[in-house]
Amino acid sequence: MINSLLWTPLIFGIAGLAVPKQMVGWWAALGTALTLGIAIAMLAGFDSGAPGLQDSYDASWIPSLGVRYSLGIDGLNVFLVLLTAVVWLGGTAFAALREQERPHLFFLMMLVGETATLGAFVAQDLLLFVLFFDLMLVPFYFLFGGWGSDREGGPTASAATLKMIVYTLIGSLLMLVAAIATAIIAADGGQISFSIAELAKDPIGEGSQRWIFWFFAAAFLVKMPAFLLHGWMPDAYRAAPLPVLAVFSGVLAKVGAYGFLRVVLPLFPDATIEFQEVVLVIALASILYGSVMAFTQTNIRLIGGYSSVAQLGFITAGIFALRADGADGAVLQMVNHGLVVAPLFIIVAILVERSGTEDVREMGGMAMRAPVLAALFLIVTLATLAMPGSANFIGEFYILNGLFQAKIVFALVAVSGIAMSAYYALRLYQRTMHNRRPEGVTSREIGLGDGLVLVPLVLCIIGLALYPQLVLKRTDGAVQAAVAAVQAESVEAKIASGNAEAREH
């Protein structure tokens, strides 16, 4: 089953090359719908009580190099897989409703992107994870560069994309070296194995963990992007075609956060504890910087982009509370943010079509004749600002709860991020939907097709708000396991320092 989940999009993409031009978008949407069906079936069969991997598949791939083709589902990734399938269906269907240049290639790349992203989520072999992590970039390189828009006075689409690729690959290539080093150090002259579970059993020495930790962290923080490593984001977000940006922002950033939980915490517990505060500082800086930028930007895409920086900062902070509740909240928040930001960018695409500009100052009054669009947008907005009653509220609550108990100072700073998120989310809503309607901006209700794309996505938000336990119940076990190694280490450290103090007295 997990194999069919992974490869269905790719197979549909390749087969789509033979489908007539007018149909290829719907063919691709069918492929993503089928993938979603498989993902739902996997969730239905998911046993939240069972420890370890489910639906796993393990085969030899390059035995001489110790690389295995090993996939599996557990509480950490089951909802991220589902999120990927949902968001991709939305993005693909939205793109299929519009005419695309060279549609065969466009949808092939979309579907390759889905396979690569799913691969990164389900890979249980460290090297396979790195491979899919790098592979994700390739289709998005083509999509951003080939279908993106050049900016006047700014870089062309291909230049902006190149910047993104170079930035993100710095991290991923160092990660490749780090992954290999981890396996070789762990093997200690024996048979090399990249199995994440095997490597987590017996973490490598503290000295090696230090540099390996940063090689991995660099890859994940660039991908998110975190403050100081976000240089590629503004140009790339402005260049990207919007349906593609919806899936990119909705899912790909989460792979970075997921990488911390799947790889860094279990494999490098000592270094994680050592650098906890450094990463927390980066996370808080992302929250503050992202929020401030989000409420000063006038480009509607960048408001979305910087708000993602802030939200991902929250998620990182939750993970680096190094407690089960913080990490639980982080996983829930990854799903929430994906579900919020994907419809947000689809709405942005609709707004840009209606107004012919990406500048929020030139928009306004869009709600007048479009109550349904306004209502949908309002729900998304309220979820973004983590209104009590939304799943985002629960997620942020868990994150802050974890952070308060781990590092109270950091938690106090993080709280301000919630206040700021209310400001930028409401500002975006008001500027576009309310106010006086400028010349040349048309207020029109969304079409049936767009509605059919948006409404299910918004229904997912509402559904999760009503029943967040759906996620929390299934993830908790795996999250506990992910932070267990770190907690064990910190307890040991505490006991050691306690002993030292006792001896001094």
């Binding site: 090297l127 083509f142 062309t156 290999i180």
Partner: protein
């Protein structure tokens, strides 16, 4: 004084003999009028027979002609890579102006002569056969570079290669003299013993010898800072020849590099490992940075070749079985990646008036997808992106480097790869994305037709099977071995284990 003639196993020498006969026959065909057009066919046949004779010896290592040659799996693997590159070059040379101007028979005979030198060099186990083989492979190449008689650049390329190549050979020979002086033997195995017995390990004269040999080989493998000839020669030479040089010469030179350093100088490894590691690092940086500003695709691939040579050298630096296997794997992968690119360049050179300028690729994605895909795959593979043989190659090399405690060099490879994306992806962008300037693809530049140097344009070159098929074949190989690498890994492991 009694002299005993060495026992010669003609069976094992059969590949060399077949090639020699092939050279003579192809050369003679040039003077026999009815056979004039058959040189490519005869060349391909010779290459095929040689390959079969070599494959037959797979897994049965044997020392030949009193230790002058050693036909083991490493030699066979590298020879097969060289032969495959030569076969591609023959296909790409169909209707190549250079081949017609120089005379098809002569051109192909020279090509085969160079292959003969390569097959010998891959087996060389003795300083004398080493040097004779390296000259046998180089001299035909000097001439082949200059075969595009109407192009000043081609002549310049041939002359430059001759001068620099001779300098490299001279350096190599000087180094050999030192090592012979130190060990009293020309045989690789006995050099190791001789140096050891004479207590000369770490002796300055022996070290000077090692350094000179390393420099001579660095010339041949175009490792920085001995690479300056590479972009110029690559650019000026007829493109099929460039492709052959880029793949085959590099592979064979690395084979002898590995054999000489591990068999003859294995005892000195501690001395040369750090030096070669520094060379590799310099080469990675110089090659990748040099390629950034290039508009000529052949120059770009020349500089990229310098960087790739740096990666490959990493396999020798660690002096381990895994390292040599990784090196052979990378060279085999390099065959696919590079030949896909060169096939497309040949097609576009004949099809557009832009020559090998990057403009020749504009809009290729829409116009000729069957050429654009191989080129794209080739660039992504050279950049080491996943699902291509380039990724596995880098993975293999980095694994060997980390195992051999050269993690810093692995980090260099990662950083170099990152720089390399800037130019590889520029080529991809030219094919698939909107051009930076408004100049429409296909707009004729002023020089077309007016210049005596311009070759006639064949507007259908991009559809010719003999150009599209090699491009597709090589690209398929690059993807196939990226997804199913195990067969190629085993091939490389066989080759790597033959020295240990």
């Amino acid at each position: 004084m009694n002299f005993q003639a060495p026992e010669i196993d003609y069976g094992a020498l059969a590949p060399v003999i077949a090639l020699t006969i092939g050279v003579c026959v192809v050369l003679l065909s040039a003077v026999i009028r009815p056979l004039r057009r058959s040189a490519p066919v005869m060349t391909t046949t010779t290459l095929g027979i040689t390959a079969l004779l070599l494959i037959e010896r797979w897994g049965e290592p044997e020392t030949l002609v009193a230790g002058a040659l050693r036909l083991d799996d490493l030699a066979i693997a590298i020879s097969l890579i060289a032969i495959a590159a030569a076969a591609f070059a023959v296909l790409l040379s169909i209707r190549e102006p250079a081949a017609e101007q120089a005379g098809s028979g002569e051109y192909h005979a020279l090509l085969l002569g160079s292959v003969l030198g390569m097959v010998l060099l891959a087996q060389a186990q003795n300083l004398v056969s080493f040097f004779v083989a390296i000259e046998t492979l180089s001299i035909p190449l000097y001439i082949l570079c200059a075969t595009n008689l109407r192009h000043e650049r081609s002549l310049e390329s041939g002359l430059k290669y001759l001068i620099v190549g001779s300098l490299g050979s001279a350096t190599l020979l000087y180094g050999m003299a030192f090592l012979y002086g130190g060990s009293g033997s020309t045989d690789f195995g006995r050099i190791a013993n001789g140096i050891d017995e004479a207590g000369l390990i770490g002796d300055p004269l022996v070290l000077v010898g090692i350094a000179l040999v390393a420099v001579g080989l660095a010339f041949k493998t175009s490792i920085a800072p001995f690479h300056q000839w590479t972009p110029d020669v690559y650019e000026g030479a007829p493109t099929p020849i460039t492709s052959f040089m880029a793949v085959a010469t590099k592979a064979v030179a690395f084979a002898v590099f590995v054999r000489f350093f591990l068999v003859a100088l294995g005892g000195e490894a501690g001395d040369w490992q750090p030096a070669l590691a520094v060379l590799a690092a310099v080469s990675i940086v110089v090659g990748n940075v040099g390629a950034l500003g290039q508009n000529s695709l052949k120059r770009l691939l020349g500089y990229s070749g310098v960087a790739q040579a740096g990666y490959i050298l990493g396999g020798l630096v660690v002096a381990s079985e895994a390292g040599v296997s990784a090196l052979v794997f990378y060279l085999a992968g390099y065959l696919f990646m590079n030949l896909a690119a060169f096939s497309v360049i040949v097609a576009r050179e004949r099809e557009t008036p832009f020559g090998d300028d990057i403009r020749a690729l504009r809009g290729l994605g829409a116009e000729r997808p069957l050429l654009a895909w191989p080129m794209t795959i080739s660039m992504l593979a050279l950049a080491g992106l996943p699902a291509t043989v380039g990724f596995i190659g880098k993975l293999y090399l980095i694994e060997a480097l980390v195992e051999g405690d050269y993690t810093w060099l692995a980090v260099f490879i990662a950083v170099g790869t990152m720089i390399s994306l800037a130019y590889y992806l520029r080529v991809v962008a030219a094919m698939w994305m909107r051009p930076d300037e408004e100049a429409a693809p296909g707009g004729a530049p002023a020089i077309a037709g007016a210049s005596p140097e311009a070759d006639p344009i064949d507007p259908d070159a991009g559809r010719r099977l003999y150009l599209v098929a090699p491009a597709l074949l090589a690209a398929t190989g690059a993807v196939f071995f990226g997804i199913v690498p195990q067969p190629l890994v085993e091939f490389a492991e066989h080759a790597g284990s033959s020295l240990f």
